[in-house]
Structures are given as structure tokens and as C-alpha cells.
Symmetry: C2
């Protein structure tokens, strides 16, 4: 039977368990805090997208360091986002947030360490295989997660709270805050799998479209879901005076826009020779998701 | 006239000014916060050590990305260290700390961005010159600044506050918290300059010795200096209930230990053929420093 999305996600979670084996030692608490958030579940969307893009262009080896690396960077950003000075959230994925369990100082350092160690892990792999293509993939990630990518989006999001912004600004926030890492995932997969320049840019563009769908649905669920279903507080956007797509459109119109973007994303995949069925399915599922 | 340490430091500061040109744009405040701390002065010890180690083994090109990269990582660690949840310091290098000027949330993100963008800057350079030796140097830095290096040292330091610890634990804290990045600086310089394996390990060991001297003198100055001279609050170790070398030794004995380590460090340099005069001078100056 063909592998499903959740088979892939489960494999990623298993790999993540082996990144920081819990060893008694002087830094034990740091690793506990890092593992607490890293192994707290989650959909593993970014690494699974990377793996699927990798296979779509014919990649056949393993890219564990990069699958784990992007999830470590995603996890660090969540830990820091949840801090009292930032969104001040108590729950994430149905569990207490990192700083609620380990305290603020340790949470800050655990986030720092996940970011740093992600690069360390990937660099070690690139050195071992003496591959500049792998270095290129790491560079793509560092661009996406840095000041001109995810962090820029976070700053802009924060500065836009309590303010009326136009839709272009909202798009810019989401393109950076969520979209950058998602399109980096598919782009990295294509690079690591030895895809042609055209395949790399098709898969990157696919990532941009579904990244936006992901964010639109996030905005909707924050208003329509329940805490049990979502695993984190609902109505947090309203509480934090965040700008969302619902400031501009009705829920029905939001779904319509998301449908259009999904059709475009799937259209790009049709131009790739390899097997892109799961990437297509994933795009469809993103709209339907309930958490 | 031969270049002095402060000539080198000045050159580093000038290079740092060009990493993030202040451009009006959506992320302007983020870059302002990053530049505020990055350009706040400081002794630039790590990049200067890297440059001197590079020249000692015969390096002749430029390694700007790595000089800036290590100082960006050092700066991020200071911004996060100063946060209210960590050491809660109001002054650094004679200026208000980052979060006192920009707020906690922006300070956290500015630190994150400096760490992330440091890797981005160095990776870009390594890709441009298609050099695996450069990738190796970046990997050395990621090891030194991560969970098994600087961040591990910070956690241990924090956990040891208000506790009686033995001297081995104190050494472990300093070896990681301060020493890791300093010895990474000299090791990276040697790698980037094409040094032999023996030169790389001699310069790394030199870095370890002077890293310890640096920390011992830091502990002394925290107790004996003035805020004007030091540019940051004195007696902060006592205030934060930190363990220091002064818990174990008198000031006189501390200086004696520092002298011994300095002599060892200089002895290692004698085994290197290239010009190591400034590295020797620097080791001597570290003991005498007043801030």
C-alpha cells in the first residue's frame, strides 16, 4: 500500500527522537526543554513537504539532517513566539508551553539552542558527504528563517497589532512569517534531490501558494474551532489584536480564495514529471483541515 | 608602522557597519535593534583573534563574513543574556541594553535574527567561493555556540546561581560559556587560513587558555572596577548570586593562575612558524585589562 502523509509524519517524529538522546549530564535540563517542544507532536508539515519534494524530483537517499533541521527551526520559533513578552500563550499542541514548564530563561535558551543546533546538524551532514548542493539547501533555509524571512514577518506582525493595516501588508506578514519556511521546505527538497532549476522553482512556487492557504485556514480555525480540536487557545488573534484575513473577507470568501490558490499550486505540480500525487493530496487536505 | 590590536578592532567595527545597511522598509525596526547592539562598540576580541590566527598561518585573502559572523553570534548572546528573564541588566558597554530601548519582544527577535543571519552571511560566502574548508569553519562555530558549547554553559551558569558548586563545575561553565566561542575564533582563523592540522590545534588550544584568562579577569573586574570604567554594572555577579573564581581564590591567586595560563598560551604560539607577535601581546594585555 502506498505511503500516506501520516506515515511520513510518523517517520519524521521518529527521526526527531534520535537528535538529542536524553543523557544524564551537565546540560540535561537544556536537552529536556528542547525535546519537550520538539517531540510534542505537531503535523510535521515542513519536513514532510521537503521529503515529498525530494522524492518528486527523484531523490533516493536520506535527508534526515534537513528534515530534522527545518522542524527544529520551526519549533524554536514557536517556543519564542509563546513567551510572555511575545504572544504570551499557555498552551501549544494541547500541552503547556515551554516557558510554563521550564521557566522563561530556559525556554529562551532552549529556543536558541534548537536554532543553532539545526545548523550544526545540517552542516555536519553536508561536510560528511562533501556536497555543496547540501550547503546550498542550508543557505536557502537560513535566508527563509532570518531577518528577511520568518523573523521579519514576526516583527511586522507584532508591530501591526492594534493597527488597521491594508491587505498588502497582511500578505507580506504571512508571506514571511509562515510562507518563507514552507516554501523553503519544498525548495530544499528539490535541491537536495538534484532537481533541475525549473523543478526547484516550480516546487518553491507551490510552497508559496500552499503556505498562504495554510495561513488563511489558520485564521479561520482560530475563530471557528474549539480548544480541544485545535490543541491551543482559540480566538487568540482577537485577544492579541492581530490582523487576519477575516478582517478583509467573510469565511466563505476566504475558502474561495484558498481554493483558487490550491488549484494554482496543483497546476504547478502537473508540470513535474515525477510522482507528485501526495503533494497534490496535501494541498487539498490543507483546506479541509480542522486543526 | 605595524598594525596594533585596536587597528584590527576598528577595521572589524567598520565591516560590521556594512552588514545591515539601514534601509527604510517593512523590517526597519528589526534592523535598527540589531544594529544598535552590533555597533555599540565592544572590544571585538573574537573577530580580531580570528583574523590574527588567520594571518599567523599565512592567510592572505579576506574573511569578512566570518569576522562579522562570530561577532553577530556574540552580540545575540549578550542581548538574550541581558533580558529580564535572564540577567536582567540595564546597561551594556555604557549604553542601555537592547530590551530597555526596543522592548523585550523586539530584543528577543533581534537576537534570533543576529544568530540566524550570521549563518546566512557565512554560508553565502562559502557558496560563492565553493569552499568546503569554509563550511568546516562555519561548522566549528555552530558547535561552539550551540547546546554543547556556549548555550550549555549559560544553562549551567544559571542553574548554579545561589548554589555552592565545586571548581570543576565552575571551569566547565566558563569553558563553555566564554571559552567555546574564543577558541572557536582562533580555530576558525587557522582553518580559513589553510593551517596544518597541527597549527589548527595549537591555535585552538591557545584560544582555550586565553578564554579562561579572559573569564578570570572578568570575575575580578566585576568586583574591583567601576561602572564608568567597565561600561556595565559592577558587582553583578554578587547581585545575581553567580559563582566566580573569587569564591575559590584571592584576587592575588587569581592573577597568579591567569599568569600561568598566559605563559602556557604563549608557549604554544612559539611552535608556530608564522608571525604570532600580536597574539602574544594580546594574551599579555588580557591580564592587564581594566574593562
Amino acid at each position: 500500500m502506498a505511503k500516506t502523509f501520516s506515515d511520513y509524519a510518523k517517520q519524521v517524529s521518529e527521526k526527531l527522537e534520535h537528535v538529542f538522546p536524553t543523557i544524564a549530564g551537565p546540560f540535561e535540563n537544556l536537552y529536556k526543554a528542547m525535546n519537550y517542544s520538539l517531540l510534542a507532536g505537531g503535523k510535521r508539515i515542513r519536513p514532510v513537504l521537503m521529503q515529498l519534494a525530494y522524492e518528486a524530483v527523484g531523490g533516493k537517499a536520506e535527508i534526515d539532517a534537513y528534515l530534522c533541521g527545518i522542524e527544529m527551526i520551526h519549533t524554536y520559533s514557536l517556543i519564542h513566539d509563546d513567551l510572555p513578552a511575545m504572544d504570551d500563550d499557555d498552551y501549544r499542541r494541547g500541552k503547556l508551553t515551554n516557558h510554563k514548564v521550564f521557566g522563561e530563561a530556559t525556554a529562551i535558551l532552549a529556543g536558541d539552542a534548537l536554532l543553532n543546533d539545526a545548523f550544526c546538524l545540517m552542516l555536519e551532514d553536508a561536510l560528511k558527504s562533501d556536497s555543496m548542493e547540501k550547503v546550498r539547501a542550508i543557505h536557502v533555509l537560513s535566508m527563509a528563517s532570518g531577518s528577511a524571512g520568518m523573523i521579519g514577518g514576526q516583527i511586522l506582525d507584532m508591530e501591526s497589532e492594534n493597527k488597521a493595516i491594508d491587505q498588502d501588508t497582511l500578505d507580506l506578514i504571512h508571506l514571511n512569517k509562515t510562507g518563507a519556511l514552507i516554501s523553503a521546505a519544498t525548495k530544499m527538497g528539490a535541491i537536495l534531490g538534484g532537481g533541475s532549476p525549473r523543478e526547484v522553482s516550480l516546487l518553491e512556487a507551490y510552497g508559496k501558494y500552499i503556505g498562504k492557504v495554510f495561513q488563511i485556514v489558520d485564521d479561520i480555525l482560530d475563530q471557528t474551532s474549539t480548544i480541544e480540536e485545535l490543541g491551543k487557545p482559540i480566538n487568540s488573534d482577537e485577544k492579541n489584536h492581530k490582523n487576519t484575513y477575516l478582517n478583509f473577507y467573510t469565511i466563505e470568501k476566504c475558502y474561495e480564495i484558498a481554493e483558487e490558490l490550491t488549484t494554482k499550486a496543483i497546476g504547478l505540480l502537473d508540470q513535474i514529471d515525477g510522482d507528485t500525487q501526495l503533494l497534490k493530496d496535501l494541498a487539498q487536505q490543507l483546506i479541509m483541515r480542522r486543526n
